[in-house]
């Protein structure tokens, strides 16, 4: 029993990490249909900037704020310098741009920062909390809470605000969006700022658990991508559920079957789900008619 509980807590922790990354994908995807493969780098920047700002003497909360703001600014710059000039390019080209950006950011990070592994102290100490015979670190609660908060915020944004609707409209039909007076460039800028900010926030939250270094981005982006697809790309609910589910799958497989093939099990489940639900769990079906 306590074993199962431990697996669940472990899965929830890891799942929340994936969910945070997956949530970061949603906004840019919703605005442009582009899966931003540099999303993992935003997470890395959040962690690394906090580490270095903290080391430079800033108190942790301030360092974290600096990291989120700086990363958002970088997101905006990415949009202005690389995505906007390529307007009208096919989606694959935009994806290659984001891959290029991720390589670029990683290359810059190893110069600006270093290639060491870093972490900073957990926000509220390292004394594990005990739940039904299992333990969880307080920082995990921060991560899980962070994922929930971001989810709720995004969900409200997309369903309750006109701006959120404008984001969806932009990806659905850019031309029409302009015709109804939406500044699509601004929507893109906003999306990149928000996505990058969420990514950085994820980095800040998870670093005390997972540690960080200049190259943690790829692996995170990959898992986050898988989680987002499992849940249905573009839907915050999908990102949250997909992330947590992926984390649970991994830890339960590691616990009960084989730790070696836990990633395999996760992907097999994803394949299975997509077989029956080709749009993921909560993905919206395209409603275009012929």
């Amino acid at each position: 029993m306590s074993e199962l509980m431990q697996f669940l807590l472990s899965g929830a922790t890891v799942g929340a990490v994936y969910a945070l990354v997956a949530l970061g994908f949603t906004i840019i995807y919703n605005a442009s249909d582009v899966v931003n493969f540099a999303q993992g780098e935003f997470v890395m920047l959040g962690g690394m900037t906090t580490v270095f700002a903290h080391a430079a003497g800033l108190p942790l909360p301030l360092a974290a704020l600096v990291a989120v703001v700086a990363t958002s600014a970088l997101g905006v710059a990415l949009n202005k310098l690389a995505i906007e000039p390529a307007r009208g390019a096919p989606v694959v080209s935009l994806i290659i741009i984001t891959i290029g950006a991720s390589i670029f950011i990683r290359g810059a990070a190893q110069l600006v920062f270093d290639k060491q592994i870093h972490r900073f102290p957990a926000f509220t100490g390292d004394d594990p909390l005990h739940i039904l015979g299992a333990t969880i670190l307080p920082q995990s609660l921060w991560v899980i809470g962070g994922a929930l908060v971001v989810f709720v915020a995004l969900w409200l944004f997309f369903t309750r605000t006109l701006t959120g609707r404008a984001v969806l409209a932009t990806s659905n039909n850019r031309l029409a969006a302009q015709l109804v007076g939406i500044n699509t460039n601004w929507v893109m800028t906003l999306s990149f700022a928000l996505s990058a900010g969420i990514g950085a926030l994820a980095g800040v939250l998870v670093t005390p658990i997972t540690m960080t270094s200049y190259d943690v981005g790829i692996a995170l982006a990959l898992k986050g991508f898988a989680a987002a697809m499992l849940g249905g790309m573009g839907n915050p609910k999908g990102a949250l559920v997909g992330g947590i589910l992926l984390g649970l799958l991994e830890s339960l497989t590691a616990g009960y079957l084989s730790s070696t093939y836990k990633d395999a099990a996760a992907f097999i489940v994803i394949l299975g789900v997509l077989f029956f639900m080709p749009q993921g769990l909560f993905g919206r079906k395209s409603t275009d008619r012929v």
Binding site: I117, D126, P128, T135, T210, V216, G255, S259, T260, K262
Partner: protein, 357 residues
């Protein structure tokens, strides 16, 4: 000028290895040239970053021998990159000193291939020796699935029987995993388990150590030489790392080595220089590059020539050369030249490395 080539994994998944190696080589060449070079000739280092990709490593090795026409190659941070360089060096008859762990690199012996790190089998032996001394007979393993962890896991399993020890739990994790409590919960629950060994490098072992503490597992934890660096204590936290043992080199304990230890001056000098130059703590891996360069320098000096064949012969004749990793004595049958004594069993106490016994 004497052209020496190097290809290391300064970026990519193995940059923990390659980055300090690259920095060490650059630093040493600078130092050497400032001191007048070898036999009056300056040394030029041609350094490539293969990013941990064996295919790239082979291309760079080809480039080094065919295009840059170097007299020797240092590198191959990982076993994978090393293995793909070997045939290039052997075909071109250029001496090659690898910085990777696996035994296969030098077993069977190939004429031009050498290596500086201990083999992972030696690390296993050192650890099991210590476990045997403490009377453990049932232990668990949790290994990274990267080349380092997987290779050491396999080596350990092949020698563990010699020590009357049984592996009662065998778990793995992906090097990028964020949490290993699931695996550790299983290990914790294994029957009669007395100690746990964690082969791996990167952040994985730090996370394992922290999760170990979180789960309040009350058994001795052994790490591998893969994390032998002050950075590990910092990442895992002194609290969680308390009592962790691992086989390390003299480098880590430069300041507490007895004055009469032959390695003391070598490791102290390297540690001071490296930390001053890079601002990051020394680790075992930079030491491997240091020793490779040392062996090469020594060989060229003794050979009095920078011909690849002459250098090869001189490397094979290395004897009693004191490096950071240990004291090297090579022979036609032994292209590593280290023995178990090079490893020292270390334990973390109060956030510091101490020597066991």
């Amino acid at each position: 000028d004497i052209k020496i080539g190097a290809t290391v994994s300064a970026t990519g998944p193995a940059s923990f290895l390659g980055d300090p190696e690259a920095k060490t080589l650059e630093m040493l060449v600078e130092e050497l040239n400032a001191a007048g070079g070898i036999n009056g000739e300056k040394v030029e280092l041609v350094l490539y970053d293969d990013g941990g990709d064996p295919n790239k490593a082979r291309t760079f090795a080809t480039r080094l021998v065919e295009d840059d026409e170097v007299v020797a190659i240092i590198g191959g941070s990982t076993t994978g990159t090393t293995m793909s360089i070997i045939s290039v060096a052997e075909d071109a008859e250029v001496p090659f000193i690898s910085l990777a762990g696996a035994v296969e690199i030098i077993e069977p012996v190939k004429p031009f291939t050498f290596k500086t790190p201990h083999t992972d089998r030696m690390a296993c032996e050192k650890i099991f020796e210590d476990m045997q001394k403490r009377g453990f007979t049932k232990v668990g393993m949790i290994s990274g699935t990267d080349g380092f962890g997987a290779s050491m896991q396999a080596q350990c399993k092949s020698v563990v029987g010699n020590y009357g020890i049984e592996i009662v739990a065998d778990e793995t994790y992906d090097p990028k995993d964020a949490d290993m409590t699931a695996q550790l919960t299983n290990i914790k629950g294994a029957d009669g388990i007395q100690a746990v060994l964690n082969p791996g490098f990167g952040q994985g072992p730090s996370i394992v150590t922290r999760n170990y503490k979180q789960l309040a597992i009350d058994l001795p934890l052994y790490q591998s030489h893969g994390v032998a660096s002050d950075g590990f204590i910092e990442l895992a936290g002194a609290d969680a790392a308390e009592g962790v043992r691992l086989p390390g080199t003299a480098l880590l304990i430069a300041d507490i080595l007895p004055e009469d230890d032959a390695q003391k001056p070598v490791v102290t000098a390297y540690k001071a220089a490296f930390e001053a130059k890079t601002g990051t703590p020394v680790g075992t891996f930079g030491g491997y590059a240091h020793d490779a360069f040392l062996i090469l320098k020594d060989a060229i000096t003794r050979a009095g020539s920078a011909e690849p064949a002459a250098i090869r012969d001189a490397i094979e004749a290395t004897s009693g050369l004191v490096g950071t990793t240990g004291v090297y004595t090579m022979s036609p049958e032994n292209h590593l030249g280290l023995d178990l004594s090079a490893f020292r069993m270390l334990e973390i106490k109060g956030g510091k490395w101490t020597i066991v016994e």
